[in-house]
Assembly symmetry: D2
Homo-oligomer: 490 residues x 4
C-alpha cells in the first residue's frame, strides 16, 4: 500500500485497510503480466489528454518522459500498492508532481484494466498462433517424411484397420487448423478498445476513443461503455481456445505415452525424456505427461473463470480481478505446451518396422475381407460381416478360401469360392493393399494422402500470411504511437 | 438388445452381453434426439449406394419406402437395442429382408454418429440463433421504449454514477451480438460432413462423399477420415457458445432477482413468477433463478465433456458416446433459457419513477462534480477526487459552494468558488445533466443512445438476413434429397 | 399445471404461468426419484398432525388410506404439476376433500424437499456402500487367487520394477476402503431430518421434530431450521464421494483398456465386451471405456452443483431444484459403475504367463541391482544408481560382473567384483527374487502380501457389520412407522 | 538444472534435457511450499538409515548437520534443479561428499513427495481448522450480541417471514461446524505416512516404516506401498473440504454485498472496504467480492485436480506433479479467506433499526396469519393459505377482520370473525410475536435461540479441545525427532 503522504487513493476513509485484506486484494503479484500494457495505455492517454488540452504540451512532455522512465526502471521497482495502476500513478506523482495528478483524468481503472487485458490477450494469441503454425508445420513434415509408413489404426485402443502414419498425423494437423481458425476469429473480438469508457458511462471530458484505439493497435472500439468495462467474455473465450488446443495436445501426449510404452512405436528424444531418481533404467515421457496434465489444469482455469463470472450484475465487480491471473496462466500454458509439443515431435524417432509389422496383426484386415465378399460374391454386407466374424472367432488371422466357404455356408447358406480368386483373398489380407483400397476422399490411399498434403502446405502458407498481416497492422499502429510520443518528447 | 434370431450385430461372441452392462452401455434413451437425422442419413446413403450400384434401383426403392415407414412409426416403436443405428438396421431387415442387410455397406456407426451429431448441432444452433435474435429484438425494444429513463448505475453493487436504462440494456444486447457472431462461426465448422469416413480410413467401396454431404445440407466434408470420426471439438465448441450465452443470461437473471428484491426496479409479469406453498404473499422470480442455475449446469456439461475428451487416443473411443447426451441437453437448455428470457423481459414492468428517484442517491454525481472542478477550477483530477471525497465523507449529498471551498482549501490549499458558478454546481449535481455530459462514444447521452439504437436496428436486420440465408441454403439441399427420394419411390 | 378448479396453489396471481415457463420450472420429470420418499414423509407427517390434534383420528385414517392408494397407483398417474408435492396434495384433495387441504399444515415444500433429498441420498449411499463392499470382495478374491503372480509394475507407464498382481490389486482395494470410510462419515451427516423447519423458521404449529425424524429412520435432526432448508452441502458431499469412487474406477478402467490392448495382460469376458458394426474381428472394452467416461461426467455433475450453489444467499433459492437431478444421476452412476466393475473384474481372465514373462523385461530389476551394489560393495546409492544407469544405456538387460566392474570403474573409480558373488548377481536380476526382497511393510514379499490379505478379509467383515447395523437401525425405525400407520388405518 | 559436474541425476542419457522442457517440467517454483517438509523427512530418514546401519553414526552426524545448514540457508539458496529433492541432494553432496550420495538409499522421490504433500496438507488443515474455529466464535458472538434483533428472512431473495439475525447467523455457524467435522475426518486419512514405499514396492533395504512415521508426527502408515505413492485422493479431498468452506463463505460474502447495497442492513468497517479511483463517494465491499470469487477459483482447482487424476494408471505419473500447486493454492486460499471473513464479520456494524423496521414489510406475517386461521377458525391450511393470498393481492399489509371475512367468504364460504379476537389478529400481524411463535426445535423463539447458543458454546469448546489434542500429539512426536537429531549431532 502506498506510503506517500498525500494518500493518492483511498483518502476518504477514517481507517486504513486491514493489512491482510490489502494483501488478499492486491493484484500486484500478477500485474507484472500487464505492466508494459499499462505503460502503453498511459502513453496513448497522455497524447489524448494533450490533444484535448487537459494537459499542456509541456506537461505531456514531462509525463511521457516520466512514464518511459518508469518503464525502464521496470515492474520490480514499483512500491507496494493495491495494483499496478495505483503504483504507476503514485510514481508519476512522485516524479513530476501536480501534472502526475492529472493522469487519471478521463480514465478509470475499470476501462484501463479491460484495455490491458485485451492487449495482453491479443499479444499472447499472436504468439500462440505462431506456435500453432510451427506445430502444424512439424506435423506436416512428419506426414510428408513418413507418408507411406503403414501402421495399425485403433478404435477403443484395439487394432482395428491398417492405416498410415501420415493419415493419422494429418488428422491432428486438421484439428489444429480449426483451432487456428478459432483463434483468428477470437482475435477479432478481442482486439477492440474499451478505453474511454471510464467507470462505465464514458466521461464528460472530451476524449477521442477511436484515436486512442488506433494508437494501441486495436481494430476498433467496444462501443457501449458499460459493456466495455463489465464484459469478460473475451477473456473466457481466449481461455477456451487455449483449452481446445490443449485437449488435442493431450490426445497426442497420450499417444506418445502409449507409443513409448508397450506399443513401442516410437523412441523419445533424450531432450524430452527424464530418468528416475531410483530406477536407473527408466526413460520417462514426462513432458508428454505434463502436457496431458496441463489440459486438466486449463479445464480448471476455464471452469473457475466461468464459475466466477456467472451471475455477476453489471457493471464492474471485484471478482473480475481474480479471473485475470487465470487468463495469464492459461495463455502461458497454451503457448508453452504447443511449442514444446512441436519441438518434441520434431525429434521423435518413429519405429517404422514395428508399426508396419503390427499393421496386419489381430486380423485388422477383417473389414476389407468382408467388403471383398460383398463386391465379389454379392453377399449383403451384414452377412459378410457375420461370415468374417466367424472366421475371426477361430483366431485364424489368415483364412483360406475353404475357411471362408465354411463360414459362408453357415451364415448365408452358400459357398463363395466360385466368385473369389486367390488374388482377391491375398489382396484383402494384405495391409498394404488395404490402405490403398480405402481411397475415398480423405482416405489412406497414396493419392489421397498426396492431395491432403499438397492442400495443407498451401493452407499453412495462407495462415502464415494472415498472421503476418495482423502482426504488421498492429505493429504499424504502435509505431505511430511511439513516433508521436517521440515527437512530443524531443 | 435385439432378440431377433439373426443376431444382426455382436454375432461373434460366445456369450451375450451382461444385461446391466447392456443397459449401461445403451444410448437408446438419448438417441431420440437424433432419430430423424439417422433416417435422413440413411436416405442419402441409400441414394448413394444406388448410384454406386451397390444396391439395385428396386432395392433402393424398397429400402427408402421402409425407412420412411420407420420414420412414420416413430422412435418409440424401435425395439430394445444398443443404439438407434442397430435398431433401425434390425427393423429394416425385418421389413425388407436381405436388402436391409446391405444398409451398412460403406458405412460405420463411427461416421454415422458423427454425422448425426453434426446435423443435430446444426439444427439446434439455427434454433438458438433464432431465439437469440428474438432476445436481442426484445432488449432493443426495451432500450427504445425506455431510452430516456435514468437509473443509478452500479459497480461492486454500490450506486456509482447515474446512467440510463437504455444504455444498460444495450450493453446486454451487445454481449449477445457477439454470441451471435460466435455461433455463425461455429456453425461453419459444424456443418461439415464426416459421412463416408466409415470406421476411420474411408472405405474400399466407391462412395461420393461430396454428393452425400450436399444431400444432407452440409457446406462440405470433414476431409481427413480419421479426424472426421475421432474429433469432438465441434461438439465441445457448440456447448461452449451455449455456455457463453447462459453466462450472460445468468447476469440478467441475477439483476432480475435483485431488481424484484430490495432494489424494487421492476415488477415481474405473473406468467413468469411463482408463489409459495406456505407463504401466500410471495411472488418469486423462479424463472430467473432457474436460468441462473442453468448457467451452472451448462458449465458442468462443458467441464464433463472436456474432461471426458481429454487424453483420448485416436480414433473412436466409446467415451464419446457419453458426451452426446451432454450436447443434447446443453443446446436444449440454451434454446429454452434464451427464449424464456426474451418472453419474460418482454413483459417486465420497469418502475421508472423509482429508478429515476434513486439515480442521484448516494452521491452518484460525485465523479461529475470532480470532473467539473478539473475543468472549471483547473484542479488536477486526483486532487479534485480528494476534494469530493472529503465532501462525500460528510455524507452531504448536496454540497454548497462553501462546502467545496472548505474541502479545496484542505486538499489543494486554495478556494475554487471564483471559478465555479451556481449553475455549474447545479448541473454537476443533477443526474439528468450528468448522463448527458457523459457523451463519449458509447456513452449515455441522448445522441449516443440514439446512434447506438439506430446502428443496432440495422445490425439485427443484417443478422436476420444472414440466418435466413443459411436456413434457405440448407433447406434447398434437403429438398433436393427429398425430391430424389420421391423420384426413386414413385 | 393442475387443472382442478380449486387452484390449490398459485391462486393469488391474476394470470396463469406461461406454459413454457411452467415446463422449464417443473421438476416433475425427476421427482420420480423421490416419489416414495414424499409418501413416507406424508405418512409420518399425518401421524404427527394427528398427535398434535391438527387432524382428527378419522381424518388421519382417511389421509393415510389415500396416501397409500396414491403410492400404489404409482408416480406415473400423477397429473401435470409443478412438482411431486403439489401433485400429491392435489390428488389427496381429490380423494378425501377438505382433510386433504390440511396436509401442508406445519410443513413447507422447503423442508419437505430437503427431507426427501436426504432420504434419497441415504438409501443410495447404502446401496453404494453395498456395491463397494462387493467390489472390494472381488478385488480381494483376485488378490488371493493370484497372490503369487509376478508382473511388471509401471511408473510413467514405463516398466519400472517387478511387482505382484496381488499387490497391485490390493492398492485398489485400499483406495476403495477409504471411500467406504468416507461414505460412512458422509452418511452420518446426511441422515438428519430437516422436517418441521417449514419455510425456514419452523412453524407456530406444535410439531415434534424428533419424533418425525425417528419415524423416518433418521439419526437426529438438523437443528437450526434455516440451515435445514438452505444448506445443500450434504448433497454436494454425497456427489463428491461418488466422484471419489469413480476416479479410482476410471483408473482401473484405464488399466483394463490398456491391458486388453498391446499390454495383453488380460482377456475380457464376452459379457463385458462389444464388437463393431463394421469390423468383425473387434472385441472392445466398451464397459471400461464408459466407466472411464462416467468419471468425467460426474466431475461435471459436481462442478455444476458447486457452481450453482456458490454465492446463493439464505434461505431457499429455486436454483436448488436444478441441483437435485444432478444428485440423482450422480449416485445412480456411482452405484451402476461400481457394480459393473465388480462383475466385470470377477470374470476377467488374467494372462499370468505373459505378465510373468514381461516382469523382468526392460531391465526392471535395475533398482535391485543398484541396491545390491550398495549392500555388498558399499557403493553409495547415488553412485550405484549411476553405475547401473550406464549398464542400462548399453541396453544390456543381463549384465555380467565384468560389465558392472567396467561401469563401477568409470563412476566410482573401483571394481566391485570382489564383493559380489555370482549368486548375488543372479538374485538381483531375478524378478521372483526381487519381489521377495522388497519386503518392507506393505511391500510385495509373500509375507507382506499374506498379512495384507488377512487383515483386509477382517476389515471387509467389519465393514459389512457396520453396514448391516445401519441398515437394521433404519429398517426398524421405518417398521415402527409402518406399524403405527397400520394401527390407525385398521 | 544442476551444474555440479557429477551429474547427480539423469546421468544416463546422451543429451541433456531441452531447456524449455526443463523449465516446463521443473516444480521448483512451487516446491518452496514443501521445503521444510523435505528437510524434516531427510532428518527422520537419516536417523532411520543410521539405525539400519546404512550410514555410520559419523556419517549421520555429518548429514544431519548439513541438512540443518541447508534449512537455515533457506529455500532461495537452492540452485536451479528439476525439483527440491534433487536440489537438496545436490547440496548435501556438495557439503559432505560421498555420504551425501547415500541420502536416497531406500527412498524414492515417489514416496518422498507423497510424504511431503501429506505433511503440508496436515499442517494447513490444522491452520484451517484453527481459522474456522475463530470464524465460528465470531459468528457465535454476533448471534449472542444480537440475539433479539428481528429482521426479514428471505426465500428467492423475497421477504418471506420475520426471523432473527441470531437465527440466521447460527445457520452459518452450523454449516461451518460440519466443515470442521469433515476436516477432522479428512485429517485422519491424510496424516498417514507413505515413506518407505520407495518407488512403489517398498525397498530391499531394511527400513522401519512405522518408526519414521512416528518421527514425522503421523498417526500411522499407508500400508500398501503402491497405494502409498500412486493415490492422490487425500490431496483431492483436502481441496474438497476447502471448497466446501469457501462455498459457504461465498454465501456470506454475497449477503454482505447485498446488505451493504440496497438492503442497507450493515455498514462495512473501513478496514475491509475500498474506494474507487474515479468515484470518490464509493465504499466497496471488495473483500467480500474477492472471497466470493475465490469460491469459483477453488472450484476450478478441484475440477482441474480431478480431471488430471482421472484415468491415470498405476503407479506414479508425472501428471501428479501438476496437481501439487493446485493443492498449495487451494489450502492457502481457504485459510486466508476464512480468517479474513472472521475479522471482517467481527467489525461489521449491523443496522438493527433498519432490519427491525423491514421485518414486517411486504406482508411477511402472511404465513402466521394463515396459521392463526387454521388454529382459531378451523380452516384447513390450504384454504387459509388462499384466504390470506387474496388479502395479499390487495396489497393490504394490515388487514382488518372484515377484510379477512370477505376473503374467507369467497374461499371457504363462511366468515371467521366469530372465532378470531382482535388480539389474535394483532399478534399474527406483529413480527415480534411471530418470531416467538415459530418455536419448534431449531426455530426463532427466544428459548430456542438460547438453547442453540448454549449448546454451540460447548461444541466450540469441545472442538477446540479436539484440535489442541491433535496439535499436541503431532508436536510431541516432532519434538522426539528433534531431540534424537540433537542427540546425534552433539
Amino acid at each position: 500500500m502506498k506510503e506517500t503522504e498525500e494518500g493518492v487513493v483511498r483518502s476518504r476513509f477514517g481507517k486504513k485497510m486491514d493489512e491482510t485484506a490489502l494483501m488478499f486484494s492486491s493484484s500486484l503479484d500478477h500485474d507484472k503480466n500487464i505492466f508494459y500494457y499499462v505503460i502503453l495505455v498511459d502513453m496513448a492517454h497522455i497524447l489524448n489528454l494533450m490533444k484535448s488540452l487537459y494537459v499542456s504540451e509541456e506537461e505531456a512532455k514531462e509525463l511521457l518522459k516520466a512514464i518511459i522512465e518508469i518503464r525502464n526502471e521496470g515492474f520490480e521497482t514499483l512500491g507496494n500498492y493495491e495494483d499496478v495502476h495505483e503504483a504507476i500513478e503514485a510514481k508519476l506523482i512522485d516524479k513530476v508532481g501536480d501534472s502526475g495528478r492529472k493522469i487519471q483524468t478521463a480514465k478509470s481503472r475499470n476501462d484501463e484494466i479491460a484495455t490491458c487485458l485485451r492487449l495482453f490477450a491479443r499479444d499472447r494469441l499472436l504468439l500462440l498462433m505462431d506456435s500453432l503454425l510451427e506445430l502444424r508445420r512439424v506435423l506436416l513434415q512428419i506426414a510428408i517424411d513418413k507418408k507411406d509408413v503403414i501402421m495399425p489404426g485403433f478404435t477403443h485402443l484395439q487394432p482395428a484397420q491398417p492405416t498410415k502414419l501420415s493419415h493419422h498425423i494429418i488428422a491432428y494437423h486438421d484439428m489444429f487448423s480449426r483451432d487456428f481458425e478459432r483463434m483468428m476469429q477470437v482475435f477479432r473480438r478481442i482486439n477492440q478498445s474499451p478505453l474511454g469508457s471510464a467507470a462505465f458511462t464514458t466521461t464528460s471530458f472530451e476524449i477521442d476513443r477511436e484515436r486512442i484505439a488506433e494508437f494501441l493497435g486495436f481494430d476498433g472500439i467496444v462501443d457501449n461503455s458499460a459493456d466495455a468495462v463489465s464484459s469478460r467474455d473475451f477473456s473466457i473465450e481466449a481461455v477456451f481456445v487455449g483449452t481446445s488446443i490443449l485437449l488435442t495436445l493431450s490426445r497426442i501426449a497420450e499417444e506418445i505415452i502409449l507409443w513409448t510404452s508397450e506399443f513401442n512405436f516410437i523412441e523419445l528424444p533424450d531432450e524430452f525424456a527424464s530418468s528416475s531418481s531410483i530406477m536407473p533404467q527408466k526413460k520417462n515421457p514426462d513432458i508428454a505427461e505434463l502436457i496431458r496434465a496441463k489440459s486438466g489444469r486449463i479445464i480448471g482455469n476455464l471452469t473457475a473463470m466461468m464459475s466466477m463470472y456467472k451471475a455477476l450484475p453489471l457493471t464492474y465487480n471485484r471478482d473480475f480481478q481474480d479471473m485475470n491471473s487465470l487468463l495469464y496462466e492459461a495463455l502461458e500454458i497454451s503457448i508453452l505446451s504447443t511449442g514444446l509439443m512441436a519441438r518434441m515431435l520434431d525429434k521423435i524417432d518413429f519405429k517404422e518396422d514395428i508399426m508396419d509389422q503390427k499393421a496386419g496383426k489381430k486380423f485388422t484386415v477383417a473389414t476389407e475381407l468382408a467388403n471383398m465378399l460383398v463386391r465379389k460374391a454379392n453377399i449383403p454386407f451384414r452377412s459378410a460381416h457375420e461370415i468374417v466374424g466367424r472366421i475371426a472367432m477361430q483366431e485364424n488371422a489368415s483364412p483360406s478360401i475353404d475357411d471362408i466357404d465354411r463360414a459362408a455356408m453357415e451364415v448365408a447358406g452358400r459357398k463363395v469360392s466360385e466368385s473369389i480368386s486367390k488374388d482377391d483373398l491375398e489382396k484383402a489380407l494384405n495391409p498394404a493393399h488395404v490402405v490403398e483400397a480405402t481411397s475415398g476422399t480423405g482416405g489412406t490411399s497414396e493419392e489421397q494422402i498426396k492431395r491432403m498434403l499438397d492442400e495443407r502446405i498451401l493452407l499453412i502458407e495462407e495462415d502464415e500470411d494472415k498472421l503476418s498481416d495482423i502482426v504488421e497492422t498492429v505493429s504499424k499502429k504502435l509505431e505511430k504511437l511511439y513516433s508521436e510520443v517521440a515527437g512530443v518528447i524531443d
